[in-house]
């Protein structure tokens, strides 16, 4: 590996570790789920409460608070060949530490490179998510790829284009300004000479320090970016040729299975492997509480585990899913500082005084990511060097976890992420990677570990449950006077209010984890938007004011007003409503993008059941890179949001998940899908923001508000109607 690249990677990695993350990204600070004992001759030393998982946040996170939306050139490697390579045959290869998990950045990033470098889209190949080949990246999460990676690749491509122009100018003995770049060719219009990029690249190494203010092509001049191009490698996916991690099968591979405890918090107290070890071809590993087997077939690996004589001492977390909300409220940690509180004005005084008062509590259940491709990894050792293929959003983070748990240097480890079958924030940690690597080391053969669906629903981390308490006061003519908003455990993303309120107190309260929890698409913004937008709706109805009018009356943010009005217009708010129908509206903004959703509910007056029949979501994220991809993302997020809104919930008792399979955990299916329209607002004058998460945030409150409109039943819990609507 290139020396400059590795030095820069180390520097960025160290820098990233010091940056704070959103508190609800519990998986970053909870530590790896496996902790292995050191070999006896090693000097045992533990830091803190176990083996740390670094809180790795993209270096660009620091720039979210900086005035400009740029990047710091000194943090990026100066050797272009490490980022972008133009081959002698004209292929352009761009290297990027982000990963493809179905959000189609493989396509949009390639469009960006092709656009800036002035080459045909088909000639660009992305190499992504490979710790040996690609630059350091903290992880593909937080909707960061479009706002951060895209500008970086643009600058790199732009600098490469400048190098090519300079090289041609030198060759032709003209000024660089006379040379034009287009369609992978350089031309000197005055003389009619031209050269292909491929010919110029022949035998050279293009290298340049990136200038700090390299001008990049503005969105108004985009020719390839901005177009709805189809997914790269689409053919491989429709033919089954693409290999996801569970499809990999290196020579000599064994199948790995992990023995799972009967409940959370259980400790292994009896272990006897005598029956299992005699099974032919089976390799058994026991390392502290980690017990696993590898064998030539999955069936034999399971048989080896079954042949173990084990016993556990159980110590499950106390609350069940029925008691979790009162438990979370009761067990909030005492405040050490004001870190998660915002305050303005005199909330308590105004709440106690005149004005129309409304208080409510909102409960949000744990839900699972349930990506269709389960967590999986293939690990292969060559001496003391390890290669792991795994569907992860953080290949460099996983490399760090592997280094810590296996006690080998990061430089001995290569993590590769094949294009993955979705993640939604659930694939940040290296669980399967660690399991496969540990087994492979013992077996001296490659090992593949693929989690079963039951393991997925049990041992992965969930979107944390939460309790949100809101106290508010408005004037009788509909102005917000006071807003007191408290989130317990769920998180602080989206906890602010965009509305104008003179007296505000907003606070996030930590509660020690009950179930393993962590990032989920949108983080706590879904819960916080649900509470806020439901509450706003209830306030509006309490004074018989139209919910859209009420919001606009208290809103100055022009971009949020724009999406509200665009959604309402497309939806036909409020005039299009018919009998036995309910209309609901909700809006929010996060991570530099804005969303508003209108929902229509159909009520069957005989049975009392309700159905979502229509959603219209308006979304604005600055300049749109691929309108087709964006539309797909917005609609996809809305459909996923239906699940969390209507019926998804993890049920648990005595430290066991009661519904760890699709037959009992209801995911949105074809017949659940309403008419959905996305209204995309393209702001070419605003830097592109990400779109992976924000579109999900207004779905649940819009639907809840529509249900109220149709039935007069106010639902304050997510999921809204897991068993259908109960008659009041």
């Amino acid at each position: 590996m290139n020396n400059t690249l590795s030095k820069t990677n180390d520097a960025m990695s160290k820098q990233a570790k010091n940056i704070l993350v959103e508190p609800e990204r519990y998986e970053f600070t909870s530590g790896s789920i496996h902790h292995f004992d050191l070999a006896r001759r090693e000097f045992f030393k533990l830091l803190g409460a176990g083996i740390a998982v670094f809180a790795v946040v993209n270096n660009a996170h620091a720039q979210e608070t900086a005035p400009s939306h740029g990047f710091h050139p000194q943090d990026l490697p100066s050797d272009i060949a490490a980022w972008l390579h133009i081959g002698e045959a004209g292929t352009v290869t761009a290297f990027c530490g982000k990963v493809e998990i179905g959000q189609n950045i493989r396509t949009s990033l390639a469009q960006t490179v092709a656009d800036e470098l002035r080459v045909p889209f088909e000639s660009v190949r992305m190499v992504m998510g490979d710790t040996a080949l690609t630059p350091f990246d903290a992880g593909t999460f937080g909707s960061r790829t479009t706002p951060t990676m895209t500008p970086q690749l643009r600058r790199v491509a732009s600098a490469a284009r400048d190098l090519l122009i300079e090289a041609a100018a030198k060759e032709w003995n003209v000024a660089p300004g006379a040379v034009k770049a287009a369609d992978a060719k350089l031309a000197d219009p005055a003389s009619g000479r031209s050269l292909t990029y491929a010919a110029l690249a022949h035998g050279k190494t293009l290298a340049q320090n990136l200038p700090a203010e390299d001008p990049v092509t503005p969105p108004s001049d985009w020719t390839i970016a901005g177009k709805p191009l189809p997914k790269v490698d689409a053919r491989d996916f429709v033919t089954g040729r693409h290999q996801y991690t569970p499809d990999l099968h290196p020579e000599g591979m064994l199948y790995g299975k992990v023995l799972r405890p009967p409940s959370f918090g259980a400790a292994l107290v009896v272990y006897d492997h005598s029956a299992a070890k005699s099974l032919p071809g089976a390799v058994i590993v026991r390392d502290g509480g980690f017990v696993a087997a590898a064998a030539p077939t999955e069936r034999e690996a399971n048989a080896a585990l079954a042949a173990l004589h084990v016993a556990w001492k159980e110590d499950p977390p106390k609350p069940s899913s029925r008691e979790i909300f009162s438990y979370l409220k009761k067990n909030a940690e005492p405040k050490a500082d004001d870190h998660h509180r915002q305050q303005k004005g005199s909330v308590d005084a105004v709440l106690a005084g005149a004005g129309h008062r409304l208080d409510a509590t909102y409960n949000v259940a744990y839900i699972a990511h349930a990506p269709l491709e389960p967590r999986a990894a293939v690990a292969e050792w060559a001496g003391d060097k390890l290669t792991v293929w795994t569907g992860s959003q953080r290949p460099f983070g996983v490399r760090g976890e592997l280094a810590d748990t296996l006690r080998i240097p990061e430089s001995n480890i290569r993590v590769i992420v094949p294009d993955t079958g979705s993640a939604y924030g659930g694939k940040h940690t290296g669980d399967a990677a660690i399991e496969a690597a540990r087994l492979a080391r013992a077996a001296h053969r490659p090992v593949k570990v693929v989690w079963t669906r039951e393991e997925e629903f049990t041992w992965a981390y969930f979107r944390p449950a939460g309790v949100i308490e809101v106290k508010s006061a408005i004037s009788l003519d509909g102005k917000l006077l006071a807003w007191d908003f408290h989130n317990y455990h769920s998180g602080s993303s989206g906890i602010e209010t965009p509305y104008v309120v003179p007296n505000v107190r907003i606070e996030f309260h930590s509660v020690p984890l009950v179930l393993r929890s962590g990032s989920y698409r949108g983080l706590a913004a879904t819960a916080n938007h649900f509470a806020r937008e439901t509450h706003m709706d209830a306030l509006a109805h309490s004074i018989n004011m139209d919910p859209l009018e009420f919001r606009l009356k208290n809103l100055e943010d022009a971009r949020l007003r724009a999406v509200l009005q665009a959604a309402a217009k497309k939806f036909g708010w409020p005039e299009a409503k018919k009998e036995n129908r309910g209309f609901g509206i909700a809006a929010g903004n996060e991570k530099g993008s804005y969303v508003a959703t209108c929902a229509e509910i159909a009520l069957d007056p005989t049975s009392g059941t309700v159905r979502v029949v229509r959603l219209v979501t308006a979304f604005e994220c600055g300049a749109i890179v691929n309108p087709d991809g964006l539309r797909n993302q917005v609609i996809g997020a809305n459909i996923q949001g239906l699940g969390g809104a209507l019926f998804e919930a993890i049920e648990f008792e005595n430290g066991r998940i009661s519904n760890p399979r699709f037959s009992k955990y209801r995911a949105p299916r074809f017949r659940d899908i309403p008419d959905i329209e996305a209204v995309l607002l393209d702001r070419k004058d605003i830097a592109s923001a990400g779109a992976g998460e924000t579109p999900i945030m207004a779905v649940a409150p819009a639907i809840g508000n529509a249900i109220f409109d149709a039935t007069a039943q106010r639902l304050n819990n997510l999921p809204l109607i897991p068993n259908g609507l109960k008659r009041a």
Binding site: I101, G102, Q103, N104, P230, K231, A234, R235, F237, V238, T239, G240, R241, H242, Q243, Y244, P246, D247, H249, Y255, T297, E298, R299, A370, P371, L372, E373, P374, D419, T420, G421, S422, Y424, V450, T452, R453, D628, N632, Q633, I635, G636, A637, N638, I639, Q640, R661, F662, S663, A667, P668, R669, F670, R671, I673, I676
Partner: protein
């Protein structure tokens, strides 16, 4: 190596090295190396493992390989003929009917099965037929478009 079972997949005969009660999905993926059909749940609830067995779409994680003896199996790998994609495959590309595409082989095979039985289905009929196929990325609207498009193409070609 037990039994000497043989199955026919995509027009080719394969000996089976796994016990006869092994679900067909694992024989296809692990024994025969045909990894196009996916594991998503192992309980027949997600549709990722769908293959055509005797022309009928079936969840291969729920069928013992012994039950596949003597009936032709078609997997996603068997749809392309002489470098030409099946109209349903092409329609999925043209309509952009996938995000992460993990559900896609199962969706395509199920759709092929549907169109064989019902060459001109309504959206409601498609949704009903694909109710057993989960798409977690939320691409269902485009999948409906893809199936409509494929139905149209296939009718025009008289297939």
């Amino acid at each position: 190596m037990p039994d000497g079972i043989e199955i026919e997949v995509n027009g080719k005969r394969y000996p089976v090295h796994y016990p006869p009660e092994t679900p067909l999905l694992y024989v296809l993926r692990d024994d025969l190396g045909l990894t196009g059909s996916k594991y998503g749940c192992g309980e027949g609830q997600c549709g990722s493992c769908t293959v055509l067995l005797g022309g009928q779409p079936r969840r291969s994680c729920q069928i013992a390989v012994s039950a596949a003896v003597g009936k032709p199996v078609t997997t996603i790998e068997g749809l392309e003929k002489n470098g030409q994609l099946h109209p349903v495959q092409q329609a999925f590309i043209d309509a952009g009917g996938f995000r992460c595409a993990y559900c896609t082989p199962g969706m395509i095979i199920s759709s092929v099965g549907l169109l064989q039985a019902n060459p001109n289905p309504s959206s409601a009929e498609i949704a009903q037929f694909l109710q057993g196929n989960i798409c977690r990325c939320g691409t269902q609207p485009r999948i409906l478009d893809a199936v409509h498009q494929a139905a149209k193409t296939m009718q025009e070609r008289g297939r």
